[in-house]
């Protein structure tokens, strides 16, 4: 029993000695550790610079090992320095790759805006005036118990996907301009599908289509706070699902528009 206590005591002393010698070893080692802690759990960094993260870890481990020996403080400092640099490089690489993702998103926004502006410029002043007057008629909208409802048909999406075709630009542009003329109105974008296939898949596709219409509106400058998005899948068909034509009609996105005061009918 006594021996065991003595052993434990020795172990504690040794541990303390180990700690104190590491603490005095170098500030660089502390810094390198802290830096590596920061990046090692960052998924973005791990994804964009895996090699540098590994090297940061290896150099740090080397510095830690050397720190337990006597008379190696230069080496400890050196490997701690390398580790810290690898961590910093990894961090910069990750910022760079995130920037590139942002850039490609902005690139798409820019292209959409330029396309729509080009179409807009083709309209004469007169046409634009008439447009403003006929806004609601040209929106293919219907006054229903849910308020004004505008329908984007299946043809505005490329086959079976949630991507809008260029033909959708004009329709979406009209909606954007309408919302700009009526700043207090808000909308709910609702996606619907036909009854072919799995219920879950239909629900997903309907939501994705509604979302991509909403995204485009936001890209074009409509405040995202004014847009609610909902997917209904194969519920609420407007036509018979037995025929091809009926199914095509059921695959649609409806935009429900609030009244002038911004009161939107409740969702279904």
């Amino acid at each position: 029993m006594k021996a065991a206590w003595m052993f434990a005591g020795c172990a504690v002393i040794l541990l303390l000695a180990g700690c104190s010698s590491q603490q005095t070893s170098s500030q660089e080692l502390e810094d390198a550790r802290a830096r590596f802690q920061q990046i090692k759990n960052d998924p973005e960094v791990l994804r964009s610079a895996p090699k540098d993260v590994v090297r940061a870890e290896e150099s740090l481990a080397r510095a830690e090992t050397l720190a337990t020996y006597w008379g190696t403080s230069d080496d400890v400092t050196h490997y701690a320095y390398l580790s810290q640099r690898y961590s910093e490089i990894a961090e910069q690489e990750s910022i760079l790759s995130q920037d590139q993702q942002k850039q490609s998103k902005l690139e798409i926004q820019l292209q959409n805006l330029q396309l729509i502006l080009r179409e807009d410029k083709l309209l004469t002043v007169q046409q634009r005036k008439e447009w403003a007057a006929e806004q609601l008629v040209s929106l293919d909208s219907n006054e229903t118990e849910r308020g004004l409802v505008m329908t984007l048909g299946d043809v505005l999406f490329s086959g079976g996907s949630a991507n809008l075709t260029p033909a959708a630009n004009r329709t979406v542009l009209k909606l954007v301009q309408f919302l700009q003329l009526n700043p207090r109105r808000v909308i709910r974008v609702e996606g619907y599908s036909d009854s072919n296939g799995e219920v879950a898949d239909n629900l997903r596709l309907s939501l994705e289509r509604a979302q991509s219409v909403a995204d485009m509106l936001i890209d074009l400058g409509v405040d995202s706070k004014r847009i609610a998005v909902q997917g209904y899948g194969e519920d609420y068909p407007v036509a018979d699902n037995a025929s091809t034509r009926g199914r095509a009609k059921n695959r649609r996105v409806e935009v429900v528009i609030s009244d002038q005061q911004g009161n939107l009918s409740p969702s279904r």
Partner: protein, 117 residues
């Protein structure tokens, strides 16, 4: 006799020391490449990391000439990473500038559409 033994031992130790640190020729080449690469994307000694890289590389070359290989290797290894970090920082600064420019362009196009400023 005793002295001679000591000398031999010392010589052996010195040789052992040398053997563990061969001339780091490959590392120096790597470092030179990294520094050149950083310079090619526009890093100059305005950037702390680039300045460090250039100074350490020069010092490493001096140590090589003096056959102080361990120090030369350490300096060259550090300079390589300094240069890589300098390069990455320059690239990040460029891409941030590009992002800002794109955002300005988008804002201006939105204004042309008659939207909110």
């Amino acid at each position: 006799m005793k002295n001679r033994l000591l000398l031999v031992t010392l010589a052996a130790l010195v040789l052992a020391g040398c053997a563990s640190d061969p001339a780091p020729n490959a590392q120096l080449q790597l470092t030179e490449k990294a520094v050149a690469q950083a310079a090619s994307v526009g890093a100059d000694n305005q950037l702390v990391e680039m300045k460090l890289a250039q100074e350490k590389l020069a010092l490493a070359e001096k140590n090589m000439a003096e056959q102080d290989y361990k120090r030369a290797r350490f300096l060259a290894e550090q300079a390589e990473l300094d240069a890589r970090l300098a390069e990455a920082k320059v690239l990040v600064a460029k891409s941030e500038a590009q992002l800002a420019e794109m955002k300005l362009k988008i804002a201006s196009l939105r204004r042309q559409l008659g939207g909110q400023p």
